[in-house]
């Protein structure tokens, strides 16, 4: 196997800076004749020849040794073909070198082209960058100029308006001036006329006063001469009035001042009171504001105030008071702001919203109530109007007892029902009385009947006694009865005494009375 084939190293595309180019390598590798003694030695000639044959065949050259088996010991070669092959190889070699050369130059060319392109690109990128920046700058400038234009336009408009206003003022002023001038001129002319009139008129109407009698002064005193003393007195009076007024005013202002001072003091004290419990939390804040001595100074001022009381009239004390109040107020405000922000963080405005909602609801409720009241009042008014409005007679008579109508109807119905019932009751009572009368009558009849029956019975019995032997019981009963009773005066008495005799054995009965009884019975069952 060939050992001396040299591999060409892998050359990257842009490594044109590399020292080794294919051509160089190739030429390097081919320009130096390195003895290829390694390939063919005296021992391996036939092998070499074989190999060369193969290679030549593969490359299309005639074989080096056409007949490998003949000849003398393998040295028998076709020199011509060998020389030809060699020549062809050399030609090929030259061709390849040339091609390689070309390729090399092309490669260099393309490399330089690429370089150039890259430089170009870089340059163009820079240019683009520059132009973009320029563009932005110009745009910015344009925007500013636009703003400028707008503001200038506004200024112009304002100026125009101002000019218009001034013109209006000017015209109205000139109008007023002209009017006044005309008025004065008219008056002037009137004066001239009057003067002329006076000059013409001969008679001179003098001013005069006619009074029946002089009237006393209002305060009853006599008039005084105008002297220097009176003038001085007047001056004095005037100054007195002014002084009085000043005094009054000063007094009022003093009072007000005292009040306000008291109020300020109170406020300050209260503020101190509110802020001092938060001393510990406020260390940092106070240090920030650099007001470390504030509380201390406040207490001082409080003591001062307590000592001086109302006599803090000097400038310094007043300033101190107002300054300290301002400081306290600032602290309080800061504190409240902090609280506010905290509250808003914790509760995202819920309470506010809630309050607002509650408020809205209440408002709604109130509105509804108002509406209801209004409606109510409306209906009331209507009714009132109806009542007070004069109706005509018919309607009045129709409506006379309108409100009681229902009740009246009901009452009537009830009366009717009541009447009916009463009628029923009376008829029933009548029936009852009739029945009772009848019953009484029948009872009487029955009594009479019984009496007659008993009489008959008694008579029959007494007759039967005469015929039959004395009876068992009934006569005993009879006799009892007879014995029991006193001498019966009438027959009915006897019969009535005999009423209770048991009808035993006495089968003789007046059939009529029995029938009567029988007929009576169902009736009596009534």
């Amino acid at each position: 196997m060939p050992e001396s084939t040299q591999e060409f190293p892998d050359i990257p595309n842009d490594s044109y800076r590399n020292k080794g180019t294919p051509l160089v390598h190739y030429t390097q590798s081919t320009n130096f004749y390195s003895p290829i003694s390694d390939f063919c030695t005296e021992d391996n000639i036939p092998e070499c020849i074989l190999y060369l044959n193969q290679e030549a065949a593969s490359l299309g050259f005639p074989a080096v040794q056409p007949d490998p088996d003949g000849g003398d010991g393998g040295l028998d070669m076709d020199v011509v073909s060998l020389l030809n092959s060699m020549y062809a190889l050399l030609e090929r070699h030259h061709r390849v070198l040339r091609a390689l050369d070309q390729l090399e130059t092309e490669r260099l060319r393309s490399i330089s082209d690429m370089q150039r392109q890259q430089l170009n690109q870089g340059r163009l990128k820079d240019q683009l960058e520059l132009t973009k920046r320029e563009n932005a700058r110009l745009q910015e400038r344009e925007r500013q100029l636009q703003l400028n234009i707008k503001s200038l336009k506004k200024c112009l408009k304002n100026e125009r308006d101002e000019v218009q206003k001034l013109q209006n003022i000017r015209t109205s002023s000139s109008m007023q001036y002209n009017h006044d001038m005309k008025r004065k001129e008219r008056e002037y002319y009137k004066l001239k006329e009057h003067l002329n009139q006076l000059l013409i008129d001969k008679k001179d109407n003098k001013q005069a006063i006619e009074v029946l009698n002089c009237v006393g002064r209002p305060d009853g005193r006599r008039g005084q001469w105008k002297t220097r003393r009176t003038e001085a007195r007047h001056e004095e009076e005037m100054y007195q009035t002014l002084l009085n007024d000043f005094d009054n005013r000063q007094r009022e202002l003093m009072l007000e001042n005292v009040e306000l001072r008291k109020v300020l003091q109170q406020i300050k004290n209260e503020m101190i009171g509110i802020l001092s419990p938060k001393k510990s939390n406020w260390r940092e804040a106070r240090q920030e504001h650099g007001g470390n001595q504030d509380l201390g100074s406040d207490e001082e001022v409080v003591c001062n105030a307590g000592r001086d009381g109302l006599e803090q009239s000097c400038e310094q004390a007043r300033e101190e008071l107002t300054n300290s109040i301002r400081q306290q107020w600032r602290k309080l405000k800061h504190h409240v702001e902090n609280l506010d922000s905290q509250a808003s963080l914790v509760q995202p405005r819920d309470s506010e919203v809630m309050a607002k909602e509650a408020h809205d609801r209440e408002m709604e409720q109130l509105r509804q109530e108002i509406q209801q009241c209004k409606d109510f009042i409306h209906t009331q008014q209507q009714l009132l109007q109806q009542l007070s409005s004069p109706c005509d007679e018919e309607t009045a008579s129709l409506l006379k007892d309108c409100y009681m109508l229902e009740e009246k109807e009901r009452l009537k119905e009830e009366w009717n029902a009541f009447d009916e019932q009463r009628k029923n009751f009376t008829s029933e009572r009548k029936n009852f009385t009739e029945a009772a009368i009848r019953l009484g009558r029948e009872k009487k009849l029955f009594e009479d009947d019984r009496a007659t029956w008993l009489k008959h019975q008694f008579l029959n019995l007494s007759f039967a006694d005469h015929v039959n032997p004395p009876l068992s019981k009934s006569p005993g009963v009879l006799s009892e009865y007879v014995e029991a009773s006193a001498a019966p005066s009438s027959l009915s008495d006897v019969i009535s005494q005999m009423v209770f005799s048991p009808p035993d054995g006495s089968s003789v009965r007046p059939s009529s009375s029995a029938e009567y009884q029988q007929s009576l019975l169902p009736q009596s069952r009534f």
């Binding site: 009137k190 006076l198 109407n205 005037m238």
Partner: protein, 448 residues
């Protein structure tokens, strides 16, 4: 509220005596004195010509009647009906006539403001004051009647003269720093004199009684300035109404502005109550359920009206003034403080239907009354915080902090209330029409 019957009057001359007992009216050239309560005629005087100006003296004993055309002033006495006095100004003419505070001198301003003649009824003497200024309010007496301030102009400069009314002694005479003085007014305590410039310049000067300049106030330059001013009864505030539709209030300690009241065309964001007069024409059937409407018979003039409260924001009807005229109808032309110092009523000329009531304690707007037509006159009750106003129709409107009411004057025929006058006790109102007047007695508090 009771209404009396109507009486005749001319020129809207109707005055109540300062002691409150008598009512004087002028009918043509007659002067009629009535008792205020019974309205019986007590005295009748006849003047020489139609009376143009009539005034009671401060002690209610005399009345002056001035007839400008004839230059005559006649004075009548209430105690002695036979007493008479006639002042004839002669050819010099008469422009204005008034009493002095002591009730014994009469000040006549002659024509062309040539001079002021002071006539004394005590000794028939005459004094003259030269160069009075003809302006909006050139002469003012202090409340206690001791001093008189008079504006004068000589050599194109304004001066003020302070006179002692006792004997007309000139106390002080000083120049003022005004371009064209428009008016002077004493504060109610008599120690400060407010002097303001004409409307071409906004300038208010405050002088003390002895002529020292206390302070100057100028709100702005160039535009038209002060239109009207009013002192508060306690002298604490000075209110100035100007052409820019604002009222500025100065305080008496520093004479600096403490507040500025605006009169915007759209009212919102205030605690004020806006009352709007709503008229109900009787022709159109309405479903208003007020009993009043059903019972009173209606004619074309007697439209029922009542106030309703408007919800904010409210648009106030305003009129744009004509820019081509002098003295434009814009700005606050009338201001009045209530007697207890608490309220200030103002009227803005380009919102002629509205009266604005401000609360001085709260320093804010209290109420706005929007009427159906232009307000002609509004006056505070001399005792209570009650405002009466009229708009030239047959109704009287009253406002108090408790509310607002409109009352129709129950007079037959056409009676249009053109102006009002309170009785000094605040118990009755005099309603003055074109040539009629009517008294309205207010309800007094419950008798024990």
């Amino acid at each position: 509220m009771n209404f009396s019957e109507v009486f005749k009057q001319t020129n809207q001359l109707c005055r109540v005596s300062p002691d409150g007992k008598y009512l004087a009216t002028c009918v043509q050239y007659r002067l009629v004195i009535r008792d205020v309560n019974t309205l019986q005629i007590l005295q009748l005087y006849t003047c020489l010509d139609q009376v143009v100006q009539m005034e009671w003296s401060s002690d209610s004993l005399f009345i002056l009647c001035a007839m400008y055309k004839r230059g005559l002033v006649q004075v009548w006495s209430l105690e002695q009906p036979d007493w008479h006095c006639k002042i004839d100004e002669g050819s010099i003419g008469l422009l204005c006539s008034r009493w002095s505070p002591d009730g014994r001198h009469i000040l006549n301003t002659t024509e062309f403001n040539l001079r002021v003649t002071v006539w004394s009824l005590c000794n028939k003497s005459v004094s003259y004051i030269k160069y009075p200024k003809a302006c909006q309010k050139g002469m003012d007496f202090s409340t206690d009647g001791r001093y008189m301030a008079l504006a004068e102009r000589r050599d194109c400069k304004d001066y003020i003269s302070v006179f002692v009314c006792d004997d007309w002694h000139l106390l002080r005479h000083f120049e003022t720093e005004t371009q064209d003085l428009a008016g002077v007014e004493w504060s109610p305590n008599g120690c400060v004199l407010a002097v303001w410039d004409a409307c071409l310049e906004y300038k208010m000067l405050l002088y003390s009684l002895d002529g020292r300049l206390l302070s100057t106030y100028s709100a702005y330059e160039w535009s038209l300035g002060i239109k009207a001013i009013a002192w508060s009864p306690s002298s604490q505030f000075l209110a100035m109404g100007s052409y820019d539709e604002k009222v500025r209030i100065l305080n008496h300690i520093t004479w600096k502005k403490i507040v500025e009241f605006e009169h915007p065309a759209t009212i919102n964001n205030t605690k004020a109550v806006v009352y709007r007069e709503v008229e109900k024409r009787p022709v159109v059937p309405s479903d208003d359920l007020s009993l009043q409407q059903l019972s009173i018979s209606s004619t074309a003039f007697n439209a029922q009206s009542k106030y309703e409260i408007c919800q904010l924001p409210v648009q106030v009807p305003s009129v744009k003034p004509d820019p081509d005229r002098a003295n434009p109808k814009v700005g606050i032309s009338s201001l009045a403080f209530s007697a207890d110092n608490r309220y200030l009523a103002t009227k803005n000329d380009n919102m002629p239907n509205c009266v604005w009531v401000w609360d001085m304690q709260r320093v804010g707007l209290q109420a706005v009354l929007e009427q159906a037509s232009a307000v002609r006159c509004f006056l505070w009750d001399p005792r209570r915080p009650r405002l009466a106003l009229c708009t030239g129709n047959n109704k009287l409107y009253l406002w108090s902090p408790a509310g607002c009411v409109s009352v129709r004057v129950p007079v037959e025929g056409c009676f249009q209330v053109l102006s009002l006058l309170w009785h000094c006790s605040g118990d009755s109102l005099i309603l003055i029409g074109k040539d009629q007047l009517c008294l309205c007695y207010m309800e007094t508090e419950q008798q024990p």
